[in-house]
Symmetry: C2
Subunit: 241 residues, 2 copies
DNA sequence: GCAACTTTGTTCCTGCGTTCACAAGCGGCT
DNA sequence: AGCCGCTTGTGAACGCAGGAACAAAGTTGC
């Protein structure tokens, strides 16, 4: 029972699959991936580290080092083949096979996530929904019927859920987490404002709305004392779609 | 126009308000705050660094260092007065005054956020909702009518919005962002999967579902080759509420 | 009132991540 | 075919954050 939420290392033992990749680098790789697929759709077949870094908002040296973790697939004097690079990053991130997702807690947020359809981008199909509320059980949300939280272990094992998303109130999060772990789920995305206690082989990512807002509040608090920035210097000709 | 999303420093100039606080520390302080308010509700008036650190899942030395940023308000041999500490952390995080929040993009996620009511914890009232869809404009969501995105600059200036939350599709995010900035908003929470370009005095926090899932996928990919963990060693006697 | 224990606040140190800078390598041009 | 310029990949330095250890300080018990 360790507490290791967020930040920490990747491969404490076993450095066979390339050398250990820093966690921050993994996050950036996911961003490169998105930029790359977007560029490929626009017909771009080759990008230099400078271009890609610019689009991702990072230093080009950082980008090159990140890409060196996945292997050396660039051509000197030219740049990176976008298609090849996508392929290799996807492989490193384990996106070649699908990851079945379960959403627990079908409140406002859970409802929103369930309706995402195929979930952000491809490769993360939602295959199970759970809630405590008996009135919700059986009702389809986003085309999938809700099951009772008591059935989490069986259903998760049966449907081979790899990622559990916790959208319950804080008070229920730990219990739900234990049930997911019991069902063999070893990756958890936690939206509840609590630090989950999990076995060391379970990975938890926490997304905390309140913390994000408070960090923004902090930066707002220590600004130049000027009250508010000048109003509307940008043309309000909003042409969205 | 800098790109500085996430990570970076706090007070590049001006170290008047205590010394520069590392960004990571700010995030942890928000967590301490939650733990403390929870403990106060249970009648706890004093906590040692060891206790508080345990509850927050961090090292006690780290906690003491974090608290030293807000000032020295502990009593040696005793610990910290929970009420006093909450007060000082709230002051540092700028939570003493309210931060008016605007939500842009009333889709699944925007709908969920608008319905949060007073928004996570207290101090972040949602005072404006926006969408492009004419059919949505005027309809109240969570008790607040939706306005058209074209009116973002005026409405934000008028209602003194300090934090803008972007829940639009990626394609609209940058335009919406520009409109918020035009309305004087200098803190943005971005749920759209794009790196926003903003003036250097605007702070952007990004919450990216796809990236979080892909990071989990990465850790899942490089595990002990064993297929799935053993099933249900935990009693499924789920007694939630 | 004194001594011993407890807990804070801080200094030092270690280690990781980011950045800089350069050598190696590849394509294009003459 | 050889040279030139561009871009990658990596070795080394820098800087920050986290952890350990210690000194200062305050409280409790005698």
């Amino acid at each position: 029972m360790t507490v290791h939420q967020h930040g920490r290392y990747s491969t404490p033992v076993e450095d066979l699959p390339s050398r250990a990749v820093p966690e921050a680098a993994v996050g950036r790789l996911a961003i490169y991936l998105r930029v790359l697929t977007s560029m490929i759709e626009q017909g771009v077949t080759t990008m230099s580290s400078e271009e890609l870094a610019g689009a991702a908002g990072v230093n080009s040296a950082t980008l090159r080092k990140d890409l060196s973790y996945v292997g050396s697939y660039g051509t000197r004097g030219v740049g990176y083949d976008t298609a090849k690079l996508v392929e290799h990053i996807e492989q490193l991130l384990g996106l070649t096979r699908h990851h079945s997702v379960a959403v627990v807690g079908i409140g406002n947020l859970g409802h929103a996530l369930a309706n995402y359809g195929g979930f952000p981008d491809r490769g993360f199909p939602v295959t199970a929904l759970f809630d405590v509320d008996e009135d919700l059980v059986g009702i389809p949300v986003g085309g999938l019927p809700v099951d009772h939280v008591n059935t989490i272990p069986e259903v998760c094992a049966e449907r081979e859920v790899t990622i559990g998303v916790i959208c319950t109130p804080a008070s229920a999060a730990q219990i739900v987490c234990d049930l997911l772990v019991a069902g063999g789920v070893r990756c958890i995305l936690n939206f509840a404002p609590v630090m989950l206690q999990v076995p060391s082989d379970v990975e938890v990512r926490r997304v905390d709305l309140a913390v994000e807002l408070q960090i923004l509040s902090f930066y707002q608090a220590r600004r130049s004392p000027g009250p508010r920035a000048g109003a509307a210097p940008v043309d309000p000709v909003a042409v969205i779609r």
